[in-house]
């Protein structure tokens, strides 16, 4: 029997303990509040003695003066009228104080972290806890320590009264000394047009005119192919199924001249007849600037012989003169004719077949 404990007794004990805790806490808060009030009273006395607060209006007459529209807030509806406002508010203030205390501690933590190792994660967490707890404190304050009230007010019309409009119009047009209003209208209109034309013209200063630069690249007949490290590219540079980036000699790194060199088996080639001689020993060269949106066509799939742009996944068939085979691109990659000179160095047989890069209005 002794092992069986009376649950009611247990509960009472717990309740007593909890009440005791709450009482101690409440006493502490009351103490704090008392101390605060005393401090405030003291300061107020000191301030009043030394700084002497002047009132805007004479105190004696203030009492008799009506406060204008004093009833504005008086009509606000009290929502959720709570029975025991006193205890509710006390619970609320504990929460607000706790939350604010957390904010202060986290703020101190942030300062400590900042002045020691300034570790990103700890900075972020302490800052977040500090501001988050401050936010919670403010929201709790608004919800717990303020009576929930609902204001209802009439709305004014969105437009002016007819009298106001007529008066305004009359005074705008009928100022007796306002001669030749038509002239002023014309001055305003012409000046606006003139200034607008000047602003539009000034925009011209932002850059140089397009000119022919979009239509051509630096590639010309006879240019030797060079690797990005300025190495010579010969007919032994690649095995079939491999690719490399090449530039014209003297223009290494030129964005619009970047070219992809592919080697395929010559018997696989399906180039148009007139381009038959452009691929010595299965070497093919295409512009590496995507015709869709100008990214570098940087991926090559050897099994299907497709070049692919990583930005929007347009694919181009290397064997068929880089015709688009998938994705959003509409135009083939411009081809660069190639030939091998007597030393076996690969050289350009001319410029690209079309202007390289994304499309534009005047593109042929």
């Amino acid at each position: 029997m002794s092992a069986q404990r009376d649950p009611d007794l247990d509960k009472q004990k717990r309740d007593r303990q909890r009440n005791g805790d709450a009482q101690t806490r409440n006493r502490a808060i009351v103490g704090l509040l008392l101390a605060w009030e005393t401090l405030k009273a003291l300061t107020d006395t000191v301030v009043a003695t030394f700084f002497g607060r002047r009132s805007l209006i004479d105190e004696s007459s203030a009492a008799t003066l009506p406060v204008p529209e004093a009833s504005e807030r008086a009509n606000d509806r009290k929502l959720d009228p709570r029975g025991d406002v006193q205890s509710h508010e006390r619970g609320g203030s504990t929460l607000v104080l706790t939350s604010f205390l957390i904010a202060v501690l986290a703020g101190i933590g942030f300062l400590f972290v900042y002045w020691t190792n300034a570790e990103n994660l700890l900075l972020g967490v302490t800052l977040a806890v500090c501001f988050g707890a401050l936010g919670v404190a403010l929201v709790l304050y608004a919800h717990r320590l303020m009576p929930a009230k609902e204001a209802t007010e009439p709305r004014d019309e969105h437009h002016s009264s007819v009298e106001d409009r007529i008066a305004a119009e009359k005074e705008f047009y009928a100022e007796p000394d306002f001669h030749r209003r038509g002239l002023l209208k014309w001055i305003a209109l012409t000046a606006t047009g003139m200034v607008a034309a000047m602003i539009v013209s000034i925009i011209r200063s932002l850059g140089r005119p397009p000119g022919p630069s979009l239509f051509s690249t630096v590639w010309k007949r006879g240019d030797a192919l060079r690797t990005p490290d300025n190495g010579v590219v010969t007919i032994n540079a690649l095995q079939p199924g491999n690719v490399m980036i090449v530039f014209p000699e003297g223009s290494i790194g030129d964005e619009k001249a970047q070219t992809v060199l592919v080697r395929v088996r010559p018997e696989d080639l399906q180039l148009p007849k007139e381009r038959g001689s452009w691929a010595p020993m299965g070497y093919l060269a295409y512009s590496r600037v995507c015709t869709h949106a100008g990214c570098s066509v940087g991926m090559f799939e050897a099994t299907t012989c497709q070049l692919m742009c990583p930005c929007h996944q347009s694919t181009f068939d290397v064997l068929k003169a880089a015709q688009p085979t998938g994705g959003p691109a509409a135009r083939p990659l411009p081809q660069l004719p190639l030939y091998a000179d007597a030393d076996g160095t690969l050289r350009a047989g001319g410029g690209f077949t079309e202007p390289p890069g994304p499309g534009f209005w005047e593109m042929p």
Partner: protein
């Protein structure tokens, strides 16, 4: 003491500026309470956080495209040639005390800023808050959205890394694709090639000066107009077109709003501390030859990116001129969407023959056509957004890219009308009950 100081300041200001009357009216201003009315506030407060963090970043950022070897404390990049722009961003991230936190908070705040504007816009649309007399604020809000998108894009471009370089290339091709004036647009605003020496310094001054100034001005106007017209109310007791019901600005509303600001600041701080964003040192500096697989823009440009991926490669010639394939998804489609949005309040007035002033909102089920149209546009944009990640979907699911594209191309045409019919039917049924 504080009370006395505040009183002194208030007293001396009022003796010079006659403020008490206005102050009192402001304290008594009524704001309706609803969680959905906080979305605009979140956008406003994100902007404040962007200005605070952005000012800090501007103390360190330098623009400059001349390539110099990097010698900072991030060793994997030692000796790599990079522009001053990229180097200063890496410097902020690794060598400036709390620099990484502020930088990541700035980027996260930008994402949240645009998100809050978009969700706010959806709330306005689905409750018909754009109706007369609030068309002006609808127009200002849309303009704010456009400038927010532009500034976000400018912001992630100026880091000078490989990812932002890809974004610049794409922007260049989009400008170039505009019929007739494309060449001039691209050359005047971006330079002859991208990124030209002039591009990023220009982007920087736009990003930190012109566009934020426009945003701040328009926001001020937006809030001033709300103040003048008073906020709308959801339907409910005592809420009519001639009354407003809510909390007074002081103290309840002001405290809650200030609390929201700090909560948002805390949320962005935890993201900045824990969630890595735009690690430019992992992409490396911009290199015109390098290709970056899996490149994605920030979320709010995903719909344009997706449209560019889904739109088929049509080579349209007008006479001897070319309309590039990029023009349709990246210029025409966004243009049409925004024209529709700008015109919507006026179109509705035209077709419903309703030009009265409205101060009480409509609930979504009370306006089946509106809700259906909004949901249709949302689904359309959602499919486009998914399409922007089709290469990533392909990698994770193992499906072929071509198959995913075909499915998405069908979905983008079929899903919006189906959604519209379903939503319309559901709303009409809800309205009957």
């Amino acid at each position: 003491m504080i009370d006395w100081l505040a009183w002194r300041v208030a007293d001396s200001l009022d003796r010079r500026l006659r403020l008490a009357g206005f102050f009192r009216r402001a304290l008594n201003h009524v704001f309706p309470d609803h969680w959905s009315f906080m979305l605009g506030e979140i956008a406003l407060y994100s902007f404040v956080i962007l200005v605070i963090t952005g000012t800090f970043l501007a103390m360190f950022y330098t623009s400059g495209s001349e390539l110099l070897p990097y010698h900072g404390s991030y060793h994997p990049l030692s000796g790599v040639k990079a522009g001053a722009d990229f180097q200063s961003v890496v410097h902020i991230s690794f060598d400036v005390r709390a620099g990484l936190l502020i930088r990541q908070m700035h980027h996260w705040a930008a994402l949240i800023f645009v998100a809050a504007i978009v969700v706010h816009l959806a709330r306005i649309f689905f409750t018909a808050a754009y109706r007369r007399p609030r068309e002006i604020n609808w127009i200002i809000g849309l303009t704010l959205l456009i400038f927010a998108l532009v500034n976000g894009y400018l912001g992630y471009s100026i880091a000078g890394d490989l990812l932002s370089g890809a974004g610049l290339r794409i922007a260049y091709s989009i400008l170039l694709s505009v019929p007739v004036i494309g060449q001039w647009l691209a050359f005047l605003f971006l330079g002859s090639t991208v990124p030209a020496a002039i591009t990023l310094p220009r982007f920087y001054s736009l990003h930190i000066f012109l566009v934020p100034a426009i945003l701040a001005g328009l926001m001020l106007l937006h809030v001033a107009i709300i103040w003048r017209q008073l906020h709308t109310n959801y339907p409910g007791p005592r809420r009519t077109d001639r009354t407003i019901v809510g909390s007074r600005l002081w103290p309840a509303y002001a405290l809650k709003s200030l609390g929201l600001f700090f909560l948002l600041f805390g949320f962005i701080a935890i993201l900045g501390g824990l969630a890595q964003i735009d690690p430019v040192w992992m992409y490396g500096p911009f290199d015109p030859i390098a290709a970056l697989p899996g490149a994605q823009p920030d979320w709010y440009l995903g719909w344009v990116e997706g449209a560019m991926r889904l739109f088929p490669g049509v080579n349209l010639h007008v006479g001897r001129y070319l309309v590039p394939e990029v023009f349709f998804p990246a210029v025409l489609m966004p243009l049409m969407l925004f024209v529709l949005l700008y015109a919507y309040p006026f179109l509705e007035q035209l077709f419903s023959l309703d030009s009265k002033d409205h101060n009480v909102l409509r609930l979504p089920h009370q306006q089946p056509f509106n809700t259906a149209l909004g949901c249709g546009v949302f689904v359309f944009l959602l499919v486009l957004f998914c399409a922007a990640g089709d290469d990533i979907i392909s990698l994770t699911t193992g499906m072929s890219l071509a198959a995913i594209r075909t499915i998405l191309r069908v979905l983008v045409l079929v899903a919006p009308p189906i959604t519209m019919v379903l939503v319309y039917t559901a709303c009409a049924a809800a309205r009957r009950h």
